[in-house]
Symmetry: C2
Subunit: 189 residues, 2 copies
């Protein structure tokens, strides 16, 4: 019943994909399948998701960059409310694009989903006054296994949009420093 | 890591459950696991969800009552935005509570989830200006297998809250008549 549009290997990074579901509008509102195991399999993604998460954050909040070291998670992420700039960084040691990042704006409006395979660091910056973010993961949370890297690691060089003024916090904390609590100042869009 | 509170057999109907996740608040906003396969198994629910849906509807819209006849679906439903009154009707022929209904208010605020096993009709009424509704199902959509019953079937006698004036539409359409498009007039709450 193929109801998804799939852009594979976005940013030239193998395995990263942007998925857009079909939205069925009518006078009640709309309906969409936000996940369909068969559609995903047909698209080549045979993933066993075991946990769904939801977080809410205010404008300028940056969650990430996070990963699990020994229990890496594949993630399928999307915004259900508001707008975020979502980023994945390739940390797969055998990858031709190791250290490369890709970012995509995910909004409640564009309904895009970002599929991030195992072996990536992941984070997002909230661009709207509030954002509600939902994601599926294929392995459970292992608090003692968490790793993090600075959102502004100079070697990675992520271009976060709309960030103004000096970059606060952890500017010198490249490498494995969790950045939870980072709140950036953003320009009007 | 048990992060859910589970009320089993709500309304005295075996298998119906209301699940409330733990919400972790901090200055960024909050985080919650909206689904965790291990927590569910520990609570006695070993379900293989294969599809996630999201619909948006305006105040007074009633979606339902729906079911699939030969491919019955277990559903885990919740509101991510706004408020709905959610109802399940027991249609299991061998059930002691056949024909009995149970309703629960699901809101973005209370974050409650309603677990509806296979063999129920399901529907919900939107109480807020808009509501965004998310749910997981353990079998795919089979358009030719859909059944419906009137939201106001007199033998079922669901007490939909806040409905004022005369009940519009299908008042005489008890039995198998799909009610899509029903929009009710609601009082202020
Ligand atoms: C990630 C996670 C956190 N928690 C709890 C721990 C804390 O009390 C609270 C917030 O946890 P934090 O790790 O600070 O949330 P966070 O939103 O900063 O973490 C998330 O950031 C995303 C960018 C990553 O993709 C995710 O994998 C995760 O790391 O939620 C769970 O219960 N289960 C989980 O799976
Ligand atoms: C249910 C469903 C619909 N669709 C399409 C068909 C239509 O174009 C559009 C709207 O479909 P409808 O059946 O009118 O949506 P709806 O929101 O009225 O239907 C839903 O009501 C809930 C109360 C039930 O729990 C669900 O099982 C389902 O029946 O979405 C899918 O693509 N996949 C699906 O799984």
């Amino acid at each position: 019943m193929g109801q998804i549009k799939v852009e594979k290997n976005v940013g030239g990074i193998e395995g990263l994909a942007v998925i857009t579901p079909t939205v069925h509008g009518d006078d009640r509102g709309y309906f969409m399948e936000t996940y369909n195991e068969n559609d995903m399999k047909e698209a080549g993604f045979d993933i066993n998701f075991v946990q769904d998460n939801q977080s809410s954050s205010t404008k300028g909040v940056l969650r990430g960059l996070h990963f699990q070291k020994h229990f890496p998670q594949c993630k399928l992420v999307r915004a259900v409310r508001g707008d975020v700039f979502d980023v994945a960084v390739d940390l797969r040691s055998d990858s031709k694009t190791y250290g490369k990042w890709y970012g995509v704006e995910l909004t409640a409006e564009n309904k895009k989903q970002f599929l991030i395979p195992e072996g990536f660091a992941h984070g997002f910056l909230v661009l709207s006054d509030e954002a509600e973010f939902c994601y599926k993961v294929n392995d459970f949370w292992h608090p003692n296994d968490e790793g993090g890297m600075a959102w502004n690691d100079p070697e990675i060089g992520i271009k976060w949009p709309h960030v103004t003024g000096s970059y606060p916090g952890n500017a010198d904390a490249s490498g494995y420093a969790l950045d939870d609590g980072t709140k950036l100042t953003l320009s009007d869009r």
